[in-house]
Every structure is written in structure tokens, then in C-alpha cells.
Amino acid sequence: MDFGFSDEQQAIKETAREMLGARSPMTKVREAAEARAYDDALWTEIRDLGWPGIAVDEEHGGQGLGMVELAILCEELGYACAATPFLSNAMAGLFVAHAGSDEQRGRWLPGIASGEGRGAAALQPRSNDLVADAEGAALLVLNDGDGAILADGADAEIEPVELVDATRAYASVSAGGGEPLPGEVEDAADRAVVALAAELTGIAQRAMEMAIDYAKERQQFERPIGSYQAVSHRCAGMLYETEEARSLTYYAAWCADAEPESVPMAASMAKARASDAAWRVTADALQVLGGIGFTWEHDLHFLLKRAKVGAELLGDPRMHRERVATLAGLSA
């Protein structure tokens, strides 16, 4: 048993941290958010690195790695708060791969893996009122009653929706129709949930680091504020939150690769915990930062807003806890 990253996984993490640190620093995130427009060059670079195909099988042009590797990238993209269509494309890939027919896989996965024919997927159960990165997507994975359909991006009506999180492009979508996904849509949706939980974990990690750096530097009453227990214990709580979210998220990712029967419970636990953690840590970080943290000028608010929006997507924590209760054996 080894609950740590392999050398290859560690290398993926380090490469992502380094690349995003250089190419998507907070100044770039701010530019994208204020313009409500992604940096195309960043997405091109991500495509060149093969990230969009990380969890797509080799037969369809991907790298053939698993959910753990995808979660590593999502965590790092969350840590960077990067403005890219990566997550929505990866989610669409998970739906096609796990609930699509052979024919659908052959048609859509190569474009998703290369990023050339991007996909996007609905972000709320049973509704298409919120889809990320729908504009410009070749493929839309949309809800249709209890199931899901694949719709051609070119034929859909896409109405932009502005949320407080300006680091991601949201839209409401209606499609005239589409092809049903014949497989187990819930299996795919659970994997999408894990990817989002990983992003939320990364957001929490970044906000925690911002708060700790500040608590070490900022002096009040002639000493660093991080030496006061009212502040340092709040920071310790951030580690508690972030590490629980991380343990549950990587366990769920590993289950998706190796122990599929455990995925429903593990995915809901991860999403509930990571949602709460990302919100609490970003909110606590704002408190540690004090007045400066409440300014537009400071970068924290981009994390805080993405955390809260992410917490509400793909089922809010209350919904996932309700599912955990049922799976834990409480008779409904």
C-alpha cells in the first residue's frame, strides 16, 4: 500500500506547478477575469503539453493515464486559479469515455484529447442553465431528464451568464436536440465531481499559503500577527480543512481508477468536504488578511469567488451529504 504519488505523478505535479507559475501568475488571472476573456496562448500551451488528453485512452489520442493524474492537474489549475477551459473539456471527456458508445468515443474523444474539438458539460444536475466554456465548444454534454445528451456546439443557443467568479466563462445553453449517452451517466458524473473536488482542494491550498505568508510578515502591536493564537489557530484550521479535502479527493480519484464500486460514496464525500474546505479556507484567509483582503487590488477574492461558485456546482455539499447518508445505510 502506498498513499503517495509515484515518481511520474510527482513529476506531473511539479511540471504543472512550474508551468502555471510562469504562465498563469495571478497578474494573468486578473487580466483574464477583468476582461472576462481567456488567454488563448495559455490554452495553446496546455494543449501542446498534452494535458487535455491526460485521462483519455491512447487509442483515442490521449495519454492513457487515470483519474489520479487528472486530479493532480485539476488541483494545480485550482491552485493557480487559471482561467482556461481545461476542466469543462475534461468533464466532457469523462462523460463520453464512461457513458458514451464506441461510436461516440471514436467521434469525440480525439478532439477532446487534443483540445482541437473541445467539449463542455453542464454544471448542475438536471439543468442546462449553467455550462462552463460552452462558447466555442465543438461538443456539449447536456442534461436531458434523468439522462444526458451529446449536442453539437454549433447548433446550440448559448447565452452568457455572469457569476461573481470571473475566472471562468459560464453560459446558459439550450440545444434543439442531441444523441443520448447510452451508458452509465452517473459513473461519468461522479468522475466529473472528483475533478471539481481536486480543483477546490487546490484553491484551498493557495488561499492557505497566502494567509500564512501574510501572517508571517504583517506586524501589529510590534509582532507578526501569526504569533497570536487567534490568528495561528485559524491558520492551523486551514491545514485541517485542506488536508481532509485532499485525502478524500485523491482516495476518490484512486477508486475511480482501481475500485469503481467505491466511487459513488468516495466522490460525494470528496465533493462535500472539498466544497466546505475551499469556502472556509478562503473566507478565513480573508479574515487573516484583514482590510487588504477585502480590496479588489488583492488577489484573494478571485480564489474566494471561484471557491464558492465551485462549491455550488455539480451538487452542493448538502446534496452530497444526503447521498452519503443514504449510502451509509440510513434508510431513506
Binding site: 500500500m1 498513499f3 503517495g4 500564512i212 497570536y228 495561528s232 491545514l239 462535500a272 440510513l330 434508510s331
Partner: protein, 379 residues
């Protein structure tokens, strides 16, 4: 990342299971503390005969030399089968490992085997009435006396003191040294008139802990561990082992009791209450996070070698989960759970100590803030 057991680990688990099936002593008999203690002592003898008493200890000292993962598997199987704890738990988890890490060859020869066989029970004399979280401020005094030391002072929260042969005793041997440098770690014989043990009744009504009064108690030189003035370092080893050992094993018993509670909620027809459902789910998540966090810490410890300050996180999580679980049980059962003879009343009251014993949650937060996050020290 691979959470499946290797074939060796799988074989180890089967071996533990088979042995437990064969040797499980059954439920703990009622009849009071003394009956229970003798039952647990007998159980430890059996464990020792089977080679399971000191599973983390190196083979050369009578242990099994199990890997950390194997230890976790063993704890899990013990909990799954509802096996009782061994009587000499403090000797196995703290006393023995300290002697192995810091003791002389003579001390290893003298002390280790009787710990494993539960022949000699150990207790821990660290905390004092005026030195709890600030342990290094302790005042119990040791002065030189003819080939040994005379120790005078008071210790408190001493589990098993009334059964113990040996006490891991931390005392101030140099009043002039800075407070962390003036301490020495002694192994003190409890069987002398100069040591007086008095039971300390707790909010549960039982006397699981004791106070110890030492009046010129004698400790020969050969019972110093780690050398004069090195007591703080030796004590820290003890505490690190205590916290590392606690995480994985205790997660399992919280999980087991939570499953009992879920059964109970179903039986009482309360399973459709949305508030209860949310609280149960939150607890399931907390307990699972604790289990997974412990496995991550084990993996880390196997790579680095020693338990890290991250063990403080597990200690904090466990206290918080167990308190929340017992609170939920009382809310579910109502006044019935608050009768003195109710098992849940005992668990509920006993859980209040979880955020105090073995280092308070506030101290855990200090350790995390200073040693994991690198925040500046308060002092």
C-alpha cells in the same frame, strides 16, 4: 499511488484474522475494574504467546518487526473483531519504544520482555497539577543520593498507576538549568513506601486515572534513560509515538461506534430526519478523512523514518470526530442516553477528555502552526 494491499500485506492480514478467529477471548466480563484488568492482562499473555504483543518492536527485542502498514492492518483487524485492548498498553506503545530508542543494553535486557508479557505494567508520570500543557515547567524534584536519586513531587492523570510496577517519570534534576534542559527521564519502581497512589475520580464516575505522591522515592542510577538532563528529548519521543499510534487505531473504533449509531437511528425510525441525515453524513466524512489521513501519514513516515508533527492533526481530528459522534448519539436517543448505566452516557462523558488527554487540541494547533506551517512562536 496504490491503496491495494500487496500480496505480503494480504497474507499478513489473513494470518491476523485466522489467529484472532482462533484466540479471541470473547466479550469483556463485567464485575468492575479489577476483573476487567485481569482479563486484559490474560489477553495480553495470549497475544504475546502468539507473537503479537509488540508487533511494531524489532524482532531482536521480542517484537514482530512489522511494517507500519502491517501495524495498521493489525489494529484494523483487532477493532473489527472487537478484541479487547492489551493490559500494558502504555508499556507497549510508549515505555518499550523509549527503552529501545534511548535505553542501554542492560535496560533493554531488564525491561522489555516483562512489558511484552504484561508481567510488569507501566504507567506514565509526566503531567503535574501545575504543569499540564506547559509540561517542561514541571516541579517534581530529583536529587542525588548514594548511587541513585531521591524524587519528590506530585504527578496526576496517571493511567494504571495502581497496577503499575514501573513509572516513566519525568523530574527536574537540575534546578539551575533552563527549563527544557534540567529534566531527566527515570524508570521509577512503584513498589516502595515512598510512592503513594490515590485514585482520581472523573466525571464518568470511574477512576481510570490516579494521582501519585512521591516523597523521596528512590531510583538507582541504572534506571536513568537517555542520560542526565536529556529527559525532554526522551519524553518527546514518547509523545510522538503516542500520537502516531493513536491516529490509525482510534479512527477504527470511532467508525465502529458510528456504524452502531446508524443501526440505532434506523431502528428508532429517525432515519428520515434531514438534520440527522446531514449530521451522520458529516461524521462519516470526518471519520473517513481521519482514516485516509492516517494512511497518508503512514506512507510518509515509511519514507522519512519518524512520525512527524502532522500526527498532531490526526489527534485533533480524532478528538473532534469522537466528540461530535457521541453528541449526535445523545441527541438521537434523548434522555435515555443520559442514564448513568447507559453505554452512550459513558462514551459521551468520556469523549470530553479526548481534546485534553495526550496533548490538548490547543497544543495540537500550536504544534501545527509552528512546526508544520512555520508561523512565528508566541513566546
Amino acid at each position: 499511488m496504490d491503496l491495494t494491499l500487496t500480496s505480503e500485506e494480504e497474507a499478513f492480514r489473513n494470518e491476523v484474522r485466522a489467529w484472532l478467529d482462533e484466540n479471541h477471548p470473547g466479550a469483556t466480563p463485567s464485575g468492575g475494574d479489577q476483573v476487567r484488568f485481569e482479563f486484559e492482562r490474560e489477553w495480553q499473555r495470549k497475544l504475546h504467546d502468539g507473537g503479537w504483543a509488540g508487533i511494531s518492536w524489532p524482532k531482536e527485542y521480542g517484537g514482530r518487526g512489522a511494517t507500519l502498514i502491517e501495524q495498521a492492518i493489525f489494529s484494523e483487524e483487532m477493532a473489527r473483531s472487537k478484541a479487547p485492548r492489551p493490559a500494558n498498553v502504555l508499556g507497549l506503545v510508549m515505555g518499550g519504544p523509549v527503552v529501545i530508542a534511548h535505553g542501554s543494553e542492560e535496560q533493554k535486557e531488564r525491561f522489555l520482555e516483562p512489558i511484552l508479557s504484561a508481567e510488569e505494567i507501566w504507567c506514565q508520570g509526566f503531567s503535574e497539577p501545575e504543569s499540564g500543557s506547559d509540561l517542561a515547567s514541571l516541579k517534581t524534584k530529583a536529587v542525588r543520593d548514594d548511587g541513585g536519586w531521591r524524587v519528590t513531587g506530585q504527578k496526576v492523570w496517571t493511567t494504571f498507576a495502581h497496577e503499575a510496577k514501573w513509572c516513566m517519570l519525568l523530574a527536574r534534576s537540575d534546578a539551575d538549568a533552563p527549563k527544557h534542559k534540567g529534566l531527566t527521564y527515570f524508570i521509577c519502581d512503584m513498589a516502595q513506601d515512598e510512592v503513594d497512589v490515590r485514585p482520581l475520580r472523573q466525571i464518568t464516575g470511574e477512576a481510570e486515572f490516579n494521582e501519585i505522591f512521591l516523597e523521596d522515592a528512590y531510583v538507582p542510577d541504572e534506571n536513568l534513560v537517555g542520560g542526565e538532563g536529556n529527559g525532554w528529548n526522551v519524553a518527546i519521543t514518547t509523545l510522538m509515538h503516542e500520537r502516531a499510534g493513536l491516529g490509525a487505531a482510534s479512527a477504527i473504533s470511532v467508525r465502529r461506534e458510528l456504524d452502531e449509531l446508524i443501526e440505532l437511528i434506523n431502528k428508532r425510525g429517525l432515519a428520515d430526519d434531514p438534520v440527522i441525515r446531514q449530521r451522520v453524513a458529516e461524521l462519516k466524512i470526518q471519520v473517513e478523512a481521519l482514516r485516509l489521513g492516517s494512511l497518508r501519514a503512514l506512507t510518509q513516515q515509511m519514507k522519512v523514518g519518524i512520525p512527524g508533527p502532522e500526527g498532531s492533526l490526526a489527534k485533533w481530528e480524532w478528538a473532534s470526530a469522537n466528540q461530535a459522534m457521541t453528541e449526535l448519539a445523545v441527541d438521537v436517543l434523548g434522555p435515555e442516553a443520559l442514564r448513568p448505566d447507559s453505554e452512550w452516557a459513558y462514551r459521551f462523558l468520556r469523549a470530553r477528555a479526548n481534546s485534553i488527554e495526550g496533548g490538548t487540541t490547543e497544543v495540537m494547533k500550536n504544534i501545527i502552526a509552528e512546526r508544520v506551517l512555520g508561523l512565528p512562536r508566541l513566546r
